[in-house]
Amino acid sequence: MSVAVKIPTALRAATGGESEVSVEGATVSEVLDALFEAFGELRARISDEDGALRRFVNVYVAGEDIRFLQGLDTPVADGSAVTILPAVAGG
């Protein structure tokens, strides 16, 4: 299943400047693993030592924060978009 992952500006150095990357995976966890497989540098930037997301990383599936879904186990439908963004304070 092909999923488009949107890469934030701060991480594009690790993807050779790509703002969107296509990978395979049926859950957020699988999608991220595939992403780390393709771009090894991303793992340490997004995940902590235990494999959990760092606390200032927000991940969205079709625009919804995965913390309102099933976290890293959230299913990702074929053709849907996964967005990685930094948390930004100040409203």
């Binding site: 701060a10 760092r54 200032f56 304070a89 409203g91």
Partner: protein
């Protein structure tokens, strides 16, 4: 000016003072770091501050511009823009009396030009944006920031793009659109707006004041702390009560006190810091109560829309601050918010928006709980004007209608006597 670099709050990685806001290494937020080594003459520094302009730029030594403040004295950015800050600190004897407290003060930031504290952060962010050569301002807003950005852009002659949740209070929509901005209503809540703007900021050459300008923007909030200390005669209060949306204002007020403490401009200890949220959007208060050091996001449902951030990015820092200062983060219901608005209005003459109702209600809750010593000096930070959220008071009182005759008046008051004393 002494701003030296941007530094990651999580891992300490350093960056130049540009339009950057997130650490490439660990995704942590970037913050401005200063070199204050030349500020060693405290008496001279105090005199310079006291002789300064009556706005946020009197604290220019602690703000992140590389040149002088915007205005006629600065050929690079000659338009001063909206004058922000230097708002009244008011002694609130009658509010204190009502709550059994002897030394309560209100920092009335509704007295800013667009009627909320956001004029401070926008002054700083837009100043730095102009230094960096940006030619448009933008923001994601829960309402107050929208008006502040639109007004500032009008005053300094830049186009602006303001993104708000579509269900915002009408007063805030009207009070923003009037400045001639591009007003975009997003179908979603603030967290959706924030996500969208974070995506948009990557590919547009706009200064999103609270996204790519965020490190500079956040510094503006420190001026609330500086003013409180200066207005109290270079002394610290014992306790400060601050509303929490993203947690940025709360943490930066403490940061301002700590910066001055470290320089010896003021003496004593960091005040006890109390955060205030509405129960309909209380991710930080919930985490505080549960003893956690991170926030589980929520879907906001409260009349306090200016605090309706379900995914507060500075939540972890707000939790840490409340704990290490001996404070707490409380939540109050929408009914308490309405009561808080009325309590403040009827004891101080200050009409605040719903966020100030949250803050006042938390003060009342802490006092009732016995958490505040009656002799403590407490400062309540009121961030916005009641005219922005009129629905919160609609139906809370009745006026009497009469003919323009003495008989009609006498008849009216015979049925229901007038109240001849103030409330409380």
């Amino acid at each position: 000016m002494a701003a030296e670099k941007l530094k990651c709050k999580e891992c300490g990685n350093e960056y130049p003072l540009e339009a950057l806001y997130v650490c490439e290494r660990c995704f942590g937020p970037l913050e401005v770091a200063y070199d204050h080594s030349r500020l060693d003459d405290v008496a001279a520094l105090r005199r310079r501050i006291q002789a300064g302009s009556e706005d946020v730029w009197r604290y220019a030594d602690f703000l992140p511009l590389s040149g002088p403040p915007p205005g006629a004295g600065n050929p690079e950015i000659p338009l001063a823009g909206v004058p922000a800050g230097w708002t009244p600190l008011v002694r609130a004897e009658r509010l204190g009396e009502r709550l059994g407290l002897h030394d309560v003060w209100v920092k009335n930031d509704a007295a800013n030009p667009t009627h909320s504290f956001k004029d401070r952060v926008v002054a700083v962010a837009s100043g730095r944006a102009r230094e960096l050569g940006f030619e448009a301002l933008a923001c994601a807003s829960t309402g107050n920031l929208a008006g502040a950005v639109a007004a500032q852009a009008a005053a300094i002659g830049l186009p602006s793009y303001v993104f708000v949740p579509a269900d915002l209070e009408e007063q805030k929509i009207l009070g923003t659109g009037v400045y001639g901005t591009n007003l975009i209503e997003v179908r979603g809540n603030y967290d959706d707006v924030n996500r969208l703007c974070t995506e948009l900021s990557a590919d547009r050459d706009w200064a999103f004041v609270n996204i790519n300008m965020r490190p500079y923007y956040a510094e503006g909030s420190k001026t609330v702390a500086f003013e409180i200390a200066e207005q109290l005669g270079w002394e610290l209060p014992d306790r400060v009560i601050v509303p929490i949306a993203s947690g940025s204002l709360f943490t930066k007020i403490a940061g301002g006190f700590e910066e001055w403490l470290s320089l010896g401009l003021i003496e004593g200890n960091l005040p006890t810091m109390n955060g205030a949220q509405a129960t309909g959007c209380a991710p930080v208060a919930n985490a505080f109560a549960a003893g956690k050091d991170f926030c589980q996001p929520v879907k906001p449902d409260t009349i306090a829309k200016s605090l309706a951030i379900g995914n507060p990015a500075d939540g972890p820092y707000a939790l840490d601050l409340a704990r290490r200062s001996g404070g707490a983060i409380d939540a109050v219901t929408d009914d308490q918010v309405r009561e808080g608005i009325a309590l403040l209005a009827q004891t101080t003459g200050i009409f605040t928006e719903t966020a100030g109702g949250v803050t006042t209600a938390v003060l009342a809750q802490l006092a009732t709980r016995g958490d505040i010593d009656p002799d403590e000096r407490v400062v309540l930070v009121i961030t916005g004007d009641g005219l922005k959220t009129l629905d919160a008071v609609r139906g809370s009182f009745a006026a009497r209608q009469i003919d323009a005759t003495v008989d009609s008046f006498e008849e009216c008051i015979a049925g229901a006597p007038l109240v001849a004393q103030a409330v409380a």
